[in-house]
């Protein structure tokens, strides 16, 4: 038998190298495709569209500041293209508004009508509207543990968080056309919707939970804290005791879901203080921090040990937090930020593709990943004073600006969307553009802090200027907000009003979730703007017949609410919208029957949002959260700036998606109700 020759001829070499080259190229493109890399061939043909989403930026304040010459870059954009108020959603709540932007259509198509929805078959059981955690089914019980095994023969179904937003997001059309899209901190998109063709990247924004599964739960340790830890809305307050200037405590982490009775995992810490130098050393299991009052720690990685049954190795889940020592003595006080999911080792999917957020974090280091980054709850609950809140919000802003810089550096073509939350959450605390007395601040203080909001607008104007300088002539630039802002001086308890007029009973009831008698209840309010008829056949304990009885009740309620006046004669409700008139689409199942649009200065009361009733129907707002946008949609339009001509006199949020598609040469799809508004 002859041995095959080891030499090769030119023809074989050419054949081989061609095949190898083709295989290599296929492999490379395949790898690139599956890795979700943006080096994939873009069909944007160099076309660039950049959107800066500034949550809550108000058109009236923008106009005023432009006329004062304080927003030169926005004024330049207005002169180049245009500026307009941007019609917001009904109701003007961020999850609803951003979903309108995403679908290019109204709530009837995406199914988000308020921050809070309810399950009608469970009679008013509330849940967050944009995402819901569905409990798992089946488990293998071993001692104190329950294991969910999602393979044959067990086929258990683990619990999962599902995105409740329905319909087709506009980037799906771009994705299918090979046009790359990149979104940083997109609201109403957690968990992230998948990219079918691999041209879409997105980091989730508003709606993303912290490690505790909440929308941000800080921990506060103080020598004068309560004897037993208490959970307050958005935070946990704990007493810390010092023995020979050393105190100890535990950081509460996520729950160990493998346990039958879920318990939170904890990390112990010690605080050593030096009264002479007015500083502390904080010892965590893997590191030491040395801090003085007012000093923020860097991001700290916390590794929580997750115990498992004996035959399995224990696991670690990591989160990140920052610590602020507020006071060393005489009363030690320390704030620990909500424990954010670590973007470098995310335990839940925070981006599409999943690796995207890790790639960004490897460049920039850790950053806030929770949806609500500015800790407004700490300010509302008195853990922060105004200065501390501003410092924390500034930390967020500095991180956002670094991320923005990265986003712009990483951008080649296609669509780039970048979201700023600072203007919204800080306006909630500091906006006060009114002659009326502020709920908790003197007029001087209110003016001082409103001035701070103006400076924030100026900082954001610089961001716009930066983008304009870099891309003004090469890209379509859109600067938009989902809604504007309004003072919130008086609060209206919708359920108390319903009780007063006999629509909700019994007369002495105090909470929707405790002592309401549904057989005496014709209608109830839930969320911030929603009003639901207790409809037979839809609600578990419904009593109102569909048809004439329902129609008559709706007419009564609209009349009553729009006639409502405050003690000084001011109108409380500007409009009441019927959902069957303002919503159309396939996703109206959970829509409220009526949407209450409050007049400027008013909003649903804090108690209403929690399902509680108060003695008074109208009360002063006594919270630091002194401005809001959950009013009538006509009161709080958003902004639209572009370097392209705005061709419509009354553009709306739903018009942006068709306009973006047109920029890339795509027609408005049938799933959208918006129109093209950019020339």
């Amino acid at each position: 038998m002859n041995r095959p020759r080891a030499t090769t001829n030119r023809r074989r070499f050419l054949q081989g190298s061609t095949l190898a080259g083709a295989a290599g190229l296929t492999g490379l493109s395949g790898c690139s495709y599956w890795s979700g890399s943006n080096s994939r061939v873009s069909r944007a043909a160099g076309k660039k569209v950049i959107i800066i989403g500034i949550d809550g930026m108000d058109p009236r304040l923008c106009s005023q500041m432009m006329s004062e010459g304080l927003l030169p870059n926005m004024a330049k954009l207005r002169a180049t293209g245009g500026f307009s108020e941007l019609g917001t959603s009904v109701p003007p709540q961020s999850p609803v508004a951003w979903a309108n932007f995403i679908n290019g259509n109204g709530p009837g198509t995406h199914g988000i009508f308020d921050f809070i929805h309810r399950h009608p078959h469970e009679q008013c059981a509330p849940f967050y509207s944009a995402a819901e955690t569905v409990p798992g089914e089946g488990a293998w019980e071993v001692g104190d543990y329950q294991l969910q095994l999602d393979f044959w023969p067990f086929n258990h179904k683990p619990s999962e968080t599902v995105l409740r937003r329905q319909g087709v997001p506009f980037w799906d059309y771009l994705d299918a056309s090979g046009i790359p899209t990149t979104f940083y901190d997109l609201p109403s998109n957690y968990p992230p919707s998948p990219s079918q063709y691999g041209h879409h990247r997105c980091i989730c924004g508003m709606g993303t939970p912290d490690m505790a599964g909440s929308y941000g739960t800080y921990q506060y340790f103080a020598e004068n804290g309560p004897p037993q830890p208490i959970d307050e809305g958005g935070g946990r307050r704990t007493r810390i005791k010092f023995d020979e200037e050393t105190g100890q405590g535990e950081l509460i982490g996520p729950e160990n879901g493998l346990l039958k009775v879920a318990k939170p995992m904890t990390i112990p810490f010690k605080v050593h203080r030096d009264l002479q130098s007015n500083a502390v050393a904080i010892d965590l299991p893997t590191q030491r921090l040395v801090l003085k009052p007012g000093q923020w720690s860097p991001w700290i990685r916390l590794n929580f040990e997750m115990t498992t049954p004996a035959f399995l190795p224990d696991k670690e889940v990591s989160g990140i937090c920052r610590i602020l020592v507020q006071e060393v003595a005489p009363i030690f006080r320390m704030y620990v930020s909500p424990i954010n999911v670590d973007p470098r080792a995310a335990v839940v999917q925070l981006s599409e593709p999943e690796s995207f957020i890790g790639d960004v974090a490897n460049h920039l280091g850790p950053f806030y990943t929770t949806g609500f980054k500015e800790d407004h709850k700490a300010r509302t609950n008195g853990v922060f004073n105004d200065d501390e809140f501003v410092r924390q919000a500034t930390n967020v802003m500095e991180e956002r600006l670094a991320l923005f810089d990265y986003a712009v550096q990483d951008y080649e073509d296609g669509l780039l969307f970048f979201y700023f939350s600072s203007s919204d959450l800080q306006s909630h605390m500091f906006w006060w553009n009114s002659d009326k007395p502020h709920p908790i601040r003197s007029t001087t203080e209110a003016q001082k802090w409103h001035g701070y909001i103006r400076r924030l607008y100026q900082r954001l104007d610089q961001v716009v200027g930066d983008i304009y300088d870099r891309y003004g002539s090469q890209a379509t630039i859109i600067v938009m907000s989902d809604h504007g802002f309004s003072e919130f001086g008086r609060q209206f308890n919708l359920n108390s009003w319903l009780r007063w007029y006999g629509y909700l009973g019994p007369p002495e009831c105090t909470s929707l979730f405790k002592d309401v008698d549904w057989s005496q209840t014709a209608a109830y309010g839930l969320g911030i703007n929603g009003l639901y008829i207790n409809l037979k056949g839809r609600e578990r304990d419904g009593i109102i017949e569909p048809g004439e009885q329902k129609e008559a009740l709706i007419q009564e309620l609209i009349f009553g609410l729009t006639q409502l006046q405050d003690e000084d004669g001011r109108q409380v409700v500007r409009n009441v919208y019927r959902s069957d008139q303002v919503y159309s689409g396939d996703a109206t199942e959970l829509a409220p029957d009526l949407i209450v649009g409050y007049a400027r200065g008013y909003r649903a009361s804090w108690a209403t949002c929690l399902g509680d009733l108060t003695d008074d129907v109208l009360l002063d707002n006594d919270q630091a959260w002194s401005a809001d946008h959950c009013a009538d949609a006509l009161e709080v339009p958003g902004i639209l700036f572009s370097n392209r001509k705005i061709t419509d006199a009354q553009p709306s949020l739903v018009d942006l998606a068709p306009s973006i598609l047109k920029e890339f040469g795509l027609k408005t799809p049938a799933t959208m109700s918006g129109k093209v508004v950019l020339g």
């Binding site: 921090l289 040395v290 860097p298």
Partner: protein, 281 residues
């Protein structure tokens, strides 16, 4: 065991001499390249060391026997007795090879340990960059009376104290947060009740030797793991000084990964070059 620690400290001084020379030679190279070069060099040194500390003839004999057993397995696979005999021979051969490698392993244990601790100064952590902060912790003797004495830290013009000192009576520690100001290999100076002590501080964006801890002679393990600086005497008021440095992020020359990469490269180099150096492994 202070005596053992003293011996290790003397060995460290010897290793530091070579460590610094090697570090200076590869400092301009990127991390992956220096890690690869060092890995290959180590592989060659281990190979030569193995050659001269092992019984090469005996190893060759065992290898030949094992080859014969392999051949026997192939040729007489129908003869069960032969097959079992050959398999036993192979297992026995592997055991003999292990025995023959014990002496080289014992001989090379100390130099390899010294080499690893020198490399850890280079790759385990990275120097502070200008503007970065670090925590400095000084450990006093257990019998230091409380309240703790005044301890002064002088960072010169290369490091600034941000916070501290925080005196921790319960653990006899004094701790500070500092921020790096100028690049270079510097020395922090501490004045503990009149006793002046120093601790090295590495600042820069290039490769520098990074000493995490200046240990005490009371702990020989710490002296092994932290070879860069002279240990504190047993009766010194200061027992150790530690600085937290950032982790180095690299698959080839970063925190913890460098050990794996170094071992893999040195082993691969040793296997690849064994015929060049005529070594039986």
């Amino acid at each position: 065991m202070p005596e053992l620690a003293r011996i290790i400290s003397a060995l460290n001084q010897f290793a530091n001499f070579f460590g610094r020379a090697l570090a200076n030679a590869v400092a301009p190279l990127p991390g992956w390249l220096s890690a690869t070069v060092i890995g290959v060099l180590t592989g060659v040194v281990m190979l030569v060391g193995y050659k001269y500390t092992s019984n090469q003839r005996a190893i060759k004999r065992v290898r030949d026997q094992m080859k014969a057993n392999m051949l026997s397995l192939k040729l007489f696979k129908d003869n069960m007795r032969s097959v079992f005999g050959s398999q036993l021979g192979l297992v026995g051969g592997a055991g003999k090879l292990l025995l023959h490698s014990l002496l080289p392993m014992v001989v090379m244990f100390i130099p390899i340990t010294l080499a690893m601790t020198q490399l850890s100064l280079w790759y385990q952590m990275r120097p502070l960059q200008v503007g970065e902060t670090a925590v400095v912790s000084l450990q006093l003797r257990d019998d230091t009376p409380t309240p703790l004495p005044a301890v002064k830290l002088d960072g010169g013009d290369f490091a600034e104290i941000v916070t501290g000192p925080v005196r921790i009576d319960s653990t006899k520690e004094v701790t500070w947060e500092i921020v790096a100001r100028t690049t270079g290999l510097h020395e922090l100076q501490f004045d503990v009740n009149g006793e002046l002590v120093t601790k090295s501080l590495s600042i820069g964006d290039r490769y520098l030797r990074v000493s995490l801890l200046r240990p005490t002679l009371k702990s020989w393990v710490d002296v092994v793991l932290n070879p860069a600086e002279q240990p504190f005497a047993v009766d010194s008021a200061v027992q150790s000084i530690a600085i937290t440095y950032p982790e180095r992020d690299s698959w080839t020359s970063g925190t913890d990964n460098w050990v794996i990469y170094w071992l893999v490269v040195s082993m691969a180099a040793a296997f690849a070059l064994k015929s060049v150096f005529n070594v039986n492994l």
